[in-house]
Every structure is written in structure tokens, then in C-alpha cells.
Symmetry: C2
Subunit: 298 residues, 2 copies
């Protein structure tokens, strides 16, 4: 695990740059009708975001020898789904959040109906991207199946439904975990799996290891999110801090306390490391992403 | 074109019944978590709707020898996309309609956020369905590509954006046609194409004929919709009549007048017949669907 911070920073910068370029290419140009919808789709997707899902996809793909074009395309599909979910989550009827990535949310910058349609169209765009001719048909079908399942009612959308139904309720740690495994975990796991599928094929123990890694990192990501909602400032987060507490949403901090949440994150990092054992040195980027997720301050 | 009305009625009843059964199977059961979301998805999809897209898919598929299981699966994906669009269109920020298929719209029966999530999850479900193992991978990729493109910003979602931006504006007949070709035409064309792809392969002239047919029927469907919005009663429509006029939306009736709209529908029916020539007698169901679309009263 001892690669210099600089090398990983450079790798992150490269992933961010190539993801931005790839997303710009797969989104319809802003001068094509319907112009406002396309402008708003580009506004939502480009120029912001942590790009964690593309990072996971690239890292898993690189570990298994996946060509960059395939990793880029799968990453775009993942990020389009992620951004669609953010745009809809920010809507007044959902979380009613005005800021996203340090700029006005789509429904503020444009209007509510544009926010609704941008999310809808971005979900379709993700599947349009996976239908591009860069993959062989076997990979295409596998990627579409994984992404659609991670996105739907047994994945991300279902997790959001449970989250909204939990406002004001006291959840057990297990219930909270199930909700997050669906709401954010499903797409993070899909990111690792999709990256790996772009590669050369893998043994059963690598496949299982990657999935255990993705589960640990996905959960850590959420616990850190809950911790930051309490400890960070809005200016640092790029979104409104303290929202969960204000909205009376159950979080790890409200359910098990701040200290236990911090300890859980530390344990999940070790779980993630351990799960990468079958990959040996090829798992280095994934380990570094685990570190980044755990140590992030926004 | 001289097949008895009874035979077509029976065929329609069979398509409706098998579509209902297939949709019930591909939707998550109502007792699986998140229960309310799954109940609401089933409420939105089952027990109502004209099922025009499944009819087109089955008719085109049967003309080209497609097995029933493939037609059923493609039909479900199409109908899930269609229902997702209805659920979102009915939302307060969009068309704000309280009734759909003679019952309260999803956001009335449940709440607004459930309407949003039901639409989101139904879109994902359509791609989950196409990822089922009933197709060979080549057909799967083709079907996914057609459906995703028909659904996104250059298809249905884009058409809806143009429609909403046109409120209070006077559109030319051509602009109106472009809007409808995207908003409803794209998915109706996809229905014919997807049904055909489930079959044995087709010559270029059959492919072109089917697409010309689908364009004519798609446009006729919309013009009839606009006519019915003026001439029919809400009780007959199963949704609120006069909404377009009340919302100051450009329609065929407001753009070219009622008489010219009726003449256009008659011409489109002849166009649809003519486009089916390469199919010979195999095009009979498609011709009957054209009749049904033109003659419908709700």
C-alpha cells in the first residue's frame, strides 16, 4: 500500500480530466434541440462532482487490464446515473436542496420541470452510452444488466424510497445499513463490477474480493457522509451541511453516535484492504481510493 | 384489409391479457421491500391503459415470425417506459393532472415524491426487463439501443421539454410535428421496430415500410388525441378533457383547425396502409391497429 501520495494525486487528476472529457462527448451538444434541456443536462453533469464512481471503475478496470476506452464509457454511464439521482434528490418534493457542487441546483438554475426532465433524460443517456459500439455484445448486456439493477427499485431508487420513508423514525443499525446498501452502495458496487467486466476476466476469488471491497468502501462512504454532515461546514461540502439532522433523517451519527461512527469507518477501511488481497499489487489504486474515501473532508 | 372486426377484437383482448400478465411478472412483487414503492409501481402499470405500444410490438413481431416470449418481453419494456412518462407528466410541476386511466394519478393516490420515484424506477425496470435472458445478446443490444434512444433527450423526454416550452406559443405545423415525433412518435416507432427485431430478420423494403407505417400511425395517434381533447368528455377519456386548451398548449386543432385535423388523420391512415404494402397479408394486424387509432373515441 506504499505508493507516494503524489502518484495517486496524479492518477486522480487524470481520471477527473478524462471523465470530464468523455462525459462532454457522450452528452448531446448544447446547440442541438431541445437546447435548454441539453444545456441543463450539461450544466448538471459537467464541471463538478467527486467522480468516485468513475474512479472505482477505472481502478478496478486497470487492475484487470481493461482498455481505457471501455473504462471511460462504463464510467460515463455510471456518472450519468449518479448525476440523475442528485438532480432528482435536490427537487423540492424530495430533499429540496438549492445548492449542488458549489452552484445552484438544476431546478434553481433553470426550473423544477427542467430538473425533472434532466434527471429522466440522464438516466436514458446512461443506457444510450452503454449501447455504443465500443463493447462486444456480451460485455454490453452484462454492463446494462448490472447498471439497470443497481439503479432501479431494488437498488438506488428503492434506497431513496426507504430513506424518505425513514424521516423522523429511529432505524436499527441493520435497517440503516440496508437502506444505504441500496441508496448509494448499489451503484458503488456496480462501479467496481463494471470496471472489472471491462477487463480480461477474473477468478472467483478476485470477483468476490472486489465485491467485498466495494461493499466496505460504499458503506464507509456513507458513514463519512453522515459524519461530515455533522462536523463540516457548507462552504467546504459544496452543499448544505446539517441537512440530515435538520430534516430529522436517521444517520449513522444519530443511530450509533459520532465515536462509534468513526470507529466503524476505521474498521471498514481495514475490511476494504483485506478484501483486495487476491489482487495483490494490482489492487493498489483501489486501496488508495479507500483511503481517500475515509480521509475526505468534503 | 377485410378481416372481421370480431377477429381483431379477439386479438386485441389476447394482447391486453398477455401484456397484463407479463407486466405483473416483470414488476417486483408488492410484498418485497420497499413495499410502498413496489405497490405504487404496480398501481401505475397494471389494470389500465390502452397498451398501444404492446399492440404495435406484437403485430410487427407476428408479421415477422417472432416468438411470443420475445414479443411479450419487448412489449413490457415499452409499456414500462410509457407508464413512467405518464406518471412524471401527471406531476404537479409538469401537467398537474389528478386522474389517469379512470383512477387517481400516482402522486394523488400516494404522494408527489412517490410519483417521482415510481417514474424513475419504472424507467430502470424497462432496461432490467430487456436484460432478461430470453433474448440472444445481439437482439438485446439492439433492443436496448432503440429503447434508450427513443426515451431520452432526442426522443420522448426531449419532446416533452419542447411541449412544455411551447405553452402559450404559436407553433408552425412543422414545429408541432417535430415535437410530437419526439414526444410520442419516437416510442411508437420503437414499438414497431422492437417487435420486428424479435422476428426472423427483414428485407430493407419491409424495414422502411414498417418505419413509414409507424411514423404515420404515431402522428395520427397524436392528432386524434388533440381532436379528442376538444370533442370528447373527461368521463370517456379517463383523463381530464380540455386540458390542452386550458393550458394554452399548441395542438393540431389550435394550429390547423378541426376540419384540417380530421382530414390529416384520414390521409395518415392511407399513408399507413400504403407503407404496409411490402408485408402483404402479414401486415393485416398493423393495418387494423391503424384503423383503431384513427377511429378511437378515447
Amino acid at each position: 500500500m506504499c505508493v507516494s501520495t503524489i502518484a495517486f494525486d496524479e492518477w486522480v487528476r487524470e481520471v477527473l480530466a478524462r471523465t470530464e472529457a468523455a462525459l462532454s462527448l457522450v452528452l448531446p451538444p448544447a446547440n442541438v434541440e431541445p437546447i435548454q434541456l441539453h444545456q441543463a443536462m450539461r450544466y448538471a453533469v459537467l464541471g463538478g462532482g467527486k467522480r468516485i464512481r468513475p474512479m472505482l471503475c477505472h481502478a478496478a478496470g486497470q487492475a484487470l487490464g481493461a482498455p481505457s476506452q471501455l473504462r471511460d464509457t462504463a464510467s460515463c454511464a455510471l456518472e450519468l446515473i449518479h448525476v440523475y439521482s442528485l438532480v432528482h434528490d435536490d427537487l423540492p418534493s424530495m430533499d429540496n436542496d438549492n445548492m449542488r457542487h458549489d452552484k445552484p441546483a438544476v431546478h434553481i438554475q433553470y426550473d423544477e420541470v427542467t430538473g425533472l426532465l434532466v434527471g429522466d433524460a440522464l438516466q436514458s443517456q446512461a443506457f444510450i452510452v452503454l449501447a455504443l459500439d465500443v463493447f462486444d455484445v456480451y460485455r454490453q448486456v452484462a454492463l446494462m444488466r448490472i447498471l439497470a439493477c443497481a439503479t432501479g427499485s431494488l437498488g438506488m431508487a428503492g434506497g431513496q424510497a426507504i430513506d424518505l420513508a425513514s424521516v423522523g423514525m429511529r432505524l436499527s443499525k441493520t435497517q440503516l445499513e440496508v437502506m444505504h446498501q441500496m441508496k448509494t452502495g448499489a451503484l458503488l458496487r456496480a462501479a467496481v463490477k463494471m470496471g472489472a467486466i471491462c477487463g480480461d476476466g477474473m477468478s472467483a476469488d478476485i470477483e468476490a474480493g472486489l465485491d467485498a471491497y466495494a461493499q466496505a468502501v460504499g458503506l464507509a462512504f456513507q458513514v463519512v457522509d453522515d459524519i461530515l454532515d455533522v462536523t463540516a461546514r457548507s462552504t467546504l461540502l459544496g452543499k448544505t451541511a446539517g441537512k440530515d439532522a435538520a430534516n430529522n433523517k436517521p444517520t449513522y451519527v444519530s443511530t450509533i453516535g459520532l465515536q462509534a461512527s468513526l470507529e466503524l469507518v476505521a474498521r471498514l477501511r481495514l475490511d476494504a484492504y483485506a478484501a483486495l488481497a487476491p489482487l495483490g499489487k494490482r489492487g493498489i489504486r483501489l486501496a488508495q481510493i479507500a483511503d481517500m474515501v475515509v480521509e475526505r473532508v468534503n
